[in-house]
Point group: C2
Chain length 448, copies 2
């Protein structure tokens, strides 16, 4: 029985800083899975990352790269000499090449292609007919394939060749003479079956199939729900392209949800923790610029009421409360709706039910907090008109926020714009502008 | 070959609204996996959800419930009569009971317990020694178990009993006489092996083990990285509690990342899209209240400078720009750090490297946007002192934001507070207060 040792990133990172620990580090890395190595490398600053990566054996180097985030990987490539890159890709597996090709310099990619054999080239061409969000692109070629006419003994021979570290290879795929997928066969179904029986007898008729042009998210969901540890990926003619395993499905689900989280701050899920400062600054600048536009829009709204503000400076003091409460209430609705959209759980049929519910929640919380804010404002400024004005503005803004929190993401989704990325900027613009306008407008009406 | 039919939630939800489609809907549901049914039920308003759920057979009813979000499930329970609940749990499986027990009314839970047999009761007690974030609680008892002395033929017999819809049961677990876990045995390793060989010969020595007191996230990671479709879960004495499958691991990863996303808006990952208005309002009110405190803190900061604002009303107009740019820059750093913390990729060794990098990014973007804002401000108000004041405030606030974006989540993590939940409220409080203070303070210095 093997003791399970949870991955100790902290220890590995510490060792990577210490030149006396190089050997010890190499030993530790040797015991890790490539995805664990990738994970540890991402947690290191560039210098240590490249240094540690270079100590790996070539096979591990490639495997680790394929598991790393695109940015983290590309930051390693940038540190390598052309000769090092050539050596790296000399005997690269076609599946790994497909994974890495977008970040490889063009000349290196060409070189790697020139080293592939005929069948690998065919695989590569096949993969490249799909874009990088489709299952066909990433179909794993490391599959057990058997002909339709094969017998149980052939299948057994195939399974027996599996090495100890084969992952999710508990099933093989049966194809006809033209390479068309016939069915999936789980190894355990053959236990105790006579050698001479045809394998087609044991094919699992229930196993679904992943189409090559399916979105990666959709294909991953299909694998996850199927209960099989891998499914066949086929092209439009039904030919077997490879397989999509539950391990990759899990990785895709993770990336996709991490993306949703990172996009809320205008970041990419591939963002490297230790990216060079100038690269990070460049990428984030855009987001700040977009935000600046909306901030000026809010400022312009306030500017419309300069005269009012000059006379009732309390309004300037209280302004941020109206905007902020609207922003928070709106982002609660927005977040709920974005999750719902991502899961496909928001349908035309229920759109208005949802809208009514969110408006109801907004109305209740709007009135509740408007009363509280009115009370505090009265205590602070001793003016019941200001208290009334702010409470009205709060109710208006929270209701508008609830409405926008439903409308904006649904509309963005229809326009094929990622609501996680743009939703909150648009929402805060709305709640800022409406909030300031309602508050200062009502203020001008009642207080001047 | 089965045509794969991606789950059409929209169609199912539409049917649930139409009383003439009841039969057709039942047929469609019958072809779905319980997790797909659960998924579709979550996408329905309460009335349709309960109505549709009631048309299911009892086994499907329970299975669907176990896959549903806690809130969505509990909203079904609330609609049921005591008699219906009794009937539901009458013959409930112990694994399902463990999943549902927190939402079941106490009397119903007691009744369900009284119906369990001896061994099931033992399982339940065992599970309840772990809390609801630990792997031991959810160890799946649906496992193939074999004694250490068993032969290949016994294993084959066990595998042959598996039904078509057994999920991730490609391996069995070998235990000694006292129930202590000895090892994992993959079915395919037995192919072509003589019947009389002892199974222990084929045990996979590499398979890691999940400890019962491991956090669910940690255990799920272990399963995902192991490459096995299920691992054994053992108690502190090494006794086999059950298994954790890759399917459940994927589900846990998904829930955990969804949680991270939902927490940024103060929502729970279990939040039901169609929760009753009053429940939702209550839950969200707390978050709005916390935000209100911080908003009043910002307002109080502004209040310190009432005299200045009265004289230079342009400051009131421009205030939100300073606060907003700081908030956005800070949330970018915060989001990156929260992801890093969640993945365990931020270590003491690299903390200062990271801080330097984020401050560098902040300084570059601070200066860049300060210049842009100074230009626009000058064009707008024709006053270069105001332009200087706002640009200084922007630089200060964006640098403070970068600093806080690193410090706050790391500190929260140390205090065992979820940074995804509280990070952004604390961060915006800091950027609001510092932003207003810097801007209005500098304004008072230079403009009065």
């Amino acid at each position: 029985m093997v003791e399970n040792s949870p991955l100790d990133i902290e220890e590995i990172v510490r060792d990577s800083f210490d030149e006396n620990e190089t050997e010890q580090l190499a030993e530790k890395l040797d015991q890790l899975e490539p995805e664990e190595i990738a994970f540890a490398l991402e947690a290191m600053p560039l210098e240590q990352r490249v240094g540690t990566w270079l100590t790996l054996e070539k096979e591990q180097q490639i495997a680790a790269l394929t598991y790393m985030r695109v940015d983290a990987r590309s930051n390693i490539f940038k540190q390598l000499e052309t000769a090092q890159l050539h050596e790296l890709v000399e005997e690269i597996d076609v599946d790994d090449l497909i994974e890495l090709l977008d970040e490889l310099p063009d000349a290196i990619y060409q070189y790697a292609c020139s080293r592939l054999d005929q069948s690998e080239k065919r695989w590569l061409d096949q993969a490249l007919t799909y874009d990088d969000e489709q299952c066909g692109r990433y179909a794993d070629h490391d599959v057990l394939i058997l002909s339709k006419n094969a017998k149980v003994r052939d299948a057994v021979r195939l399974f027996k060749k599996l090495t100890e570290d084969a992952e999710y290879q508990e099933a093989l795929f049966v194809v006809d003479r033209t390479g068309r997928y016939v069915g999936l066969l789980q190894g355990i179904r053959l236990l105790g079956q006579p050698n001479h029986m045809p394998v087609v007898e044991f094919i699992d008729a229930e196993a679904p199939v992943v189409q090559g042009d399916m979105e990666l998210d959709q294909g991953s969901d299909l694998v996850a729900r199927s209960g099989y540890s891998a499914l066949a990926v086929v092209d439009s003619e039904g030919k077997l392209l490879g397989r999509l395993s539950i391990g990759e499905a899990l990785e895709n689900v993770r990336r996709s949800l991490e993306g949703q989280f990172m996009h809320t701050a205008g970041l990419d899920e591939e963002e490297d923790l230790f990216a060079p400062i100038i690269n990070s600054a460049k990428r984030r600048a855009l987001w700040l610029g977009i935000n600046l536009l909306t901030a000026f829009l809010a400022a312009w709204t306030i500017g419309l009421f300069e005269a009012t503000l000059q006379q009732v400076v309390a309004l300037a003091v209280l302004m941020p409360i109206v905007a902020s409460m609207g922003g928070i209430a709106g982002s609660q609705t927005l977040t709920l709706i974005i999750r719902g959209l991502a899961l496909g759980q928001i349908t035309p049929q229920t759109y208005w039910t949802l809208m009514r519910k969110e408006l109801g929640v907004g109305a209740i919380n709007g009135v509740l907090w408007a009363l509280v804010i009115a009370g505090i404002t009265y205590l602070w400024f001793g003016d019941w008109i200001i208290a009334t004005v702010i409470s009205l503005a709060i109710v208006i803004n929270i209701c508008v926020a609830a409405f926008s929190g439903v409308v904006i993401p649904v509309w963005l989704e229809k326009m094929k714009i990622d609501p996680a990325l743009s939703g909150s900027v648009i929402l805060t613009t709305v709640t800022d502008v409406i909030g300031f306008f309602a508050f200062l407008g009502l203020g001008s009406l009642f207080l001047l």
